[in-house]
Subunit: 438 residues, 2 copies
């Protein structure tokens, strides 16, 4: 797929464009900037960003045998074996294929070893790891595969590495999409959306062509909600319900902050929802969350703290961590991916729920359809989920959810050329990247 072509937009306060693919008109107002290319621009925080991008109709490739190439197996993992032939492994489940993008990065460096150790899928679930990297990182991928070899994990039966998603996603039952372009100096969220949109459109097409029809996809790479949307739109043969954007680290952090404030251990906090986008518009929901089974508001009677400080504490956590530790929170992000998968493969405890960014079609909360939005979910452990119906939404919560919804709708318009929905028009409300994230 070609790099996005930005067409110069007018510098007047209104642009009016007719899409080549639709007859709709877009009116976008205020503070426009000329946008010509993806090259780093001077950083302008909190300015509205407007751009228009030529459309690129989504067309998933036809699956042919040519596309069904195997990625390159690595070292000791190239050996053939028969798990059912051995006494110790004969009762194990059937091998599952787990594809991981950004596999040479730090989050994956934690996650892969958790997957291989059985922390995620359990002690009787053998796995194959298929690692996707870039041309630049292929040597590093070999290093990762070598460390996996040296770890002698009994459950880890196959490791393959590659740079072509059409190979690496072959028969994937789980696709953990961590890899994304980090934001370069001066890069706006619109640039980031586009440059990553290109990657996730490509990966969506590849999943559509070669992955298991029941593949579950968890998008970690930012901006993850809209990346997940692009991915699912480019994979029309896979149920949109199978795509997730990771908001579990936010949920975990929110639980921890409530526990700290209430003076209880974190296992006493339940029913924590993160609503919306994995950005500063996200809404950690203290209305429905519970502490020791009681509504948070009955336990923490400091409304000012809940309304003004709590969300900020959750969101600033990543930034504080970078200051302290000098690196981004790779370990706890990997833990939250483990949690996200386990929430789908084990039954949700009675009365509780978890948060994950999922497709909004058919949601009972009145949130706009056609976006990927973090909402409260339950699972019976089969990999699928259902949205929780009995949540309270008051005016305050509604207004905050609306803000994140508006942002995701704006992001969606900004990547229309990646989702096959016409010409992209960006009018993003400034910089909503979470501190400490790339």
């Amino acid at each position: 797929m070609a790099v996005a072509e930005f067409t110069p937009s007018s510098s007047s306060s209104i642009i009016k464009k007719t899409s080549l693919y639709s007859s709709q008109l877009f009116y976008v107002s205020t503070h426009q900037k000329r946008r010509f290319s993806l090259r780093p621009l001077q950083k302008t925080h909190y300015a509205n960003i407007c751009c228009s991008v030529t459309s690129n109709e989504v067309q998933a490739p036809v699956v042919t045998n040519d596309l069904k190439k195997k990625p390159e197996c690595f070292g000791v993992f190239c050996l053939t074996y028969d798990l059912k032939a051995e006494e110790e492994t004969s009762c194990w489940k059937k091998l599952i294929n787990v594809s991981v993008s950004g596999a040479a990065g730090m989050i994956a460096n934690h996650l892969l070893f958790k997957l291989a150790a059985g922390e995620v899928f359990g002690p009787d679930q053998p796995i194959a790891l298929k690692l996707l990297g870039s041309e630049r990182s292929i040597q590093a991928l070999e290093g990762v595969a070598m460390e996996l070899e040296d770890s002698l994990y009994p459950l880890l039966r196959e490791v393959s590495i590659g740079i072509d998603p059409y190979e690496v996603f072959q028969d994937a039952e789980w696709a953990l999409l961590i890899g994304a372009k980090p934001r370069g100096p001066g890069m706006e969220r619109a640039d980031l959306l586009d440059i990553n949109g290109q990657i996730f459109a490509e990966q969506g097409k590849a999943l559509n062509a070669v992955a298991s029809r029941n593949v579950k996809v968890i998008v970690v790479g930012n901006p993850c909600n809209t990346n997940a949307l692009i991915c699912l739109k480019n994979a029309p043969d896979i149920s949109a319900k199978n795509f997730h954007a990771l908001t579990r680290l936010d949920e975990n952090r929110a639980k921890c902050q409530l526990a700290l404030k209430a003076g209880v251990f974190y296992d006493k906090v339940s029913n924590m929802t993160i609503w919306g986008n994995h950005s500063t518009t996200q809404v950690p929901d203290f209305l429905n969350a519970k502490i020791n089974g009681f509504p948070v508001k009955e336990v923490i009677r400091d409304t000012k703290w809940l309304e003004e400080e709590f969300t900020e504490k959750v969101q600033k956590r990543g930034g504080v961590l970078i200051q302290k530790w000098g690196r981004s929170s790779a370990a706890s992000t990997a833990v939250s991916v483990v949690d996200a998968i386990r929430s789908l493969v084990t039954p949700t405890p009675e009365g509780d729920w978890f948060s994950t960014g999922v497709y909004t079609d058919g949601n009972p909360y009145g949130i706009a359809e056609g976006i990927v939005f973090s909402m409260p979910c339950r699972s019976n452990g089969d990999g699928d989920y259902e949205l929780v119906k009995d949540v309270i939404i008051d005016d305050y919560l509604r207004s905050r959810i609306k803000k994140s919804e508006d942002e995701l709708l704006a992001e969606k318009r900004c990547v229309a050329h990646r989702t096959g929905e016409g010409i992209a028009v960006c009018d993003l409300p400034g910089d909503t990247m979470l501190p400490g994230e790339m």
Copy 2:
């Protein structure tokens, strides 16, 4: 403890010194260099290194209540709780204290999350993590503790951080000593031995003063065998049998290389011993190892490969990995620490064994007493071990073991001022640091 004071040695080919603490004479020959200080010297590979150091009698401090200070608890982990009061946790075992030094480093960053997840001690063993760092890394330690908070591990009940081993080792039942000074540019192994010897002497004294009387100590920081020796010599009230030097990564790598050569999966390789020092004199033992229950030599009939390439492949692994991945093998090192602990807390499978560097007193192999040497061990899962008796040692293996033994005896002479055994005299056989290690 003061920094080692090197006294200038003679530049003639023989030094003759009378110890202040013994009447023994030391004769050390060939290629001596003047050694005055710990400042980086010009790097001289493969030259013999000679030095003498004034002695420093080992005296463990008396345990007083003053020394029994608690390290600083962190965040949500400062809360009090009663595990037995809750239905879900009432059947759990008693909390254990695990102290980890070098806790802000990359190996610990993998290991701590494995410990907290229950990968090491099991799903019903709650743990307290006590993190030891340096003044320079205290902020990073806070970052690590924050990520542990955000991970919401149910088994992790206490986290404390500190820079004083007398606080952090308080009641430790496991002490995982990862922190060590890396070798600076131009630094010789003798310098490294001394600078780390100082750290491990201090930590041994602290363990002796405040740790559980049954503490198990695993030394990961290099040069780990001699660091472990120094540590145990400074902890006279703790059984020398409780101290280990980590050679498990070498064992794991050796198993993987044999598997690769034989074309079998790595779980088919057993009875793998690493003999000796965690250095290039170490001996991965292909005489006693088995593949599918058969002696390696019956399966791999390529004696030239076994004698000439196998050991090199095991030892160069770390260096190759740094080249590929750009960092040292933190993840697989952490996995090998997990393996080392699990080998002590779970019964060794029938007929198999594992390698760990332990004190040689009473060993049945004819290895000199009074050093820490990697040997084959079995455990019944109570944290203790016994040396395996029925191993074959032929002349070839004996001669290689001898070389590592000689090296460790030389290292011991080089740190005599740290172990309370008189004046240090260094005549180390050149640079035997494993590639890719610090």
